[in-house]
Symmetry: C2
Subunit: 349 residues, 2 copies
């Protein structure tokens, strides 16, 4: 017999997707904050900024000119961290100095010609068009036989390293599996081999039964705070159907995903009545490397804000050297997100 309580006592939780653990300190919310306070971001951008390299008709670093695009616009990152023409090669000295050449393609996707918008300020139809582009870009990149993994993501807000407030995301595709994806591959594969089912389908069924960590759902997706969330208001969008990657999304599912993204990001903005910063991205099956029936498409949102629009969670000393740590529980965060309006605070009368 024990009076151990997840709501009260420090504990660790297992991330079933990566196999890693996270330290939860539910009692610690009372800690006063005398540390770093972020500046609130100026939020009165013009619809068009002549100095922005993402706005229609403007010049980019490579000298080319953006078209007068109306929906989304995709181009190769002018400062790609992965390149097409990397020669093959590697290094292995006594298994102590080990390196491999990496080949890849980095693309940028402007979500809208409007410099002043963000995803939560776009309509479901407009976001649907972005989902269409994600799907067609995935298809195009997967047609390079040497590409094994395609990472679709967005950094939103300057505290998330975003260097231009024009609404945009990125895709980095490369010839090998990144660390986080390799971990999720292994965990999902293990579960599938042992039980013959999708790890995330089983997890989602349990969460839908419990409801404690569900934020909301629509016809094809559920939005929840994972039991093992690291960031204060971290969430995950999980497809109800066991789909391995975005190529298999139907028109209805793409529209549903746009709906889920819109409603989630509006709730985020309403949390502290600020443009809520985050890094978000999809995890899905590797490509050009056989079948991955155990892979279950999902999208992570990692937002750093903790107490207010200006105080974030720092993943520093203990977290970098030992273990991720959080101060509020996943259940508390889900409850807070559930209580928020789906009408954006800026459009309210």
């Amino acid at each position: 017999e024990t009076n151990f309580d997840l709501k009260e006592h420090p504990h660790s939780r297992l991330n079933i997707l990566t196999g890693d653990w996270i330290l939860v300190s539910p009692h610690r919310t009372k800690r006063p904050w005398q540390g770093k306070v972020e500046a609130t971001q100026a939020d009165d951008r013009p619809q068009y900024d002549p100095a922005c390299y993402l706005c229609p008709t403007n010049k980019r670093a490579d000298g080319s000119e953006n078209p007068d695009y109306k929906g989304s616009f995709v181009f190769t990152n002018d400062y790609s961290s992965l390149l097409l023409n990397t020669p093959d090669g590697g290094l292995n000295e006594d298994e102590l100095l080990v390196a491999n050449s990496q080949k890849g393609i980095c693309r940028v996707i402007s979500f809208s010609p409007r410099h002043d918008l963000t995803l939560p300020q776009m309509t479901t139809k407009e976001i649907s068009k972005v989902v269409d582009v994600w799907q067609s870009e995935f298809e195009d990149l997967a047609s390079y036989p040497w590409i094994k993994h395609i990472q679709i993501f967005e950094n939103k807000g300057d505290i998330m390293g975003c260097s231009n407030p024009h609404p945009h995301g990125q895709i980095w595709a490369q010839n090998s599996l990144p660390v986080e994806v390799a971990k999720e591959t292994q965990q999902q594969k293990l579960h599938f081999e042992q039980k013959g089912t999708s790890l995330l389908a089983d997890y989602l069924a349990l969460e839908l039964k419990k409801q404690d960590r569900i934020v909301f759902e629509n016809e094809h997706f559920a939005v929840l705070v994972p039991f093992w969330a690291v960031w204060p208001y971290e969430t995950m969008i999980v497809s109800k159907r066991h789909i391995t990657n975005i190529l298999y999304f139907t028109e209805e599912e793409k529209h549903s995903l746009a709906d889920a993204i819109r409603r989630l990001t509006i709730r985020y903005d309403n949390m502290f009545e600020t443009s809520f910063p985050y890094s978000a991205g999809m995890h899905q099956s590797p490509v050009n490397s056989g079948e991955h029936p155990y892979w279950h498409w999902h999208m992570h949102f990692y937002p750093p804000l903790l107490r207010s629009a200006t105080v974030k969670k720092f993943m520093v000393g203990y977290e970098m050297l030992a273990n991720p740590q959080r101060d509020i529980t996943a259940e508390f965060a889900a409850d807070k997100l559930r209580g928020l309006s789906e009408v954006h605070y800026k459009t309210r009368e």
Copy 2:
């Protein structure tokens, strides 16, 4: 035949201590920066601040009064994320919701009564006293038989989540192995079982032969940029003797460690002529869990600054979802650190 070149082409490198990989994009340093610029930290603190909970004779949150201490001062964190009296317990629902109770002790160590100092501004003798306290605290915490791991660390600078500029560090001790330490345990053990030698001793021998990534050395320690460094100017202090933990340090070694920390942090401050932020901490053998002959004591420094005192590296979208990534090579960083003076810029005439 290949013309693959680590200095020029994108590649991945293996972290032999954790088994993880890191993506290096050496060509990417030319990227312009229009993103977040940090405020330079005010650096004219008084020697004594009546509002600081670390200064001698001041009141703390728990109502107690700090002694009029002269060297270091240790106390239990008033907002500990781990607690002594957590009841045992756990949760396991279908291997999908898995949690364990965590018990621990969090302590704070003020490095000096002087509110206005930082480690690089203290003398080697003063830093030696801090090393003495680290050793005696490690011994004291290891005397609790249920404590399995002791994490000694420092967050320096508000951009590293440090909530008080008074020079101080922390110790979090707990009843289980944190994720990063578990990974390093596994990798060192594997090497030891296969070759009968310390992984880090073999690695250090190779680095001392090559010199490319060595910043400096003294009698008992080498300071180097690890081949697999993630943060732009990340370094590691490695003991030349194969020592499992700080308990085995001799008086000479403790003095040498103080010398290494002082010289390294002065170089850091001189890099951009600013109080250089970082998270730093020791990795060493677990306690109260048998022998760990393969463990080799070392200390990591993770500093975020990239281009200047105000532009840091962001570990965001791609890094959180896929893989850590860096824009300068470890060799470039070591070269830069090697070229810096060991006289602190503030004390120069």
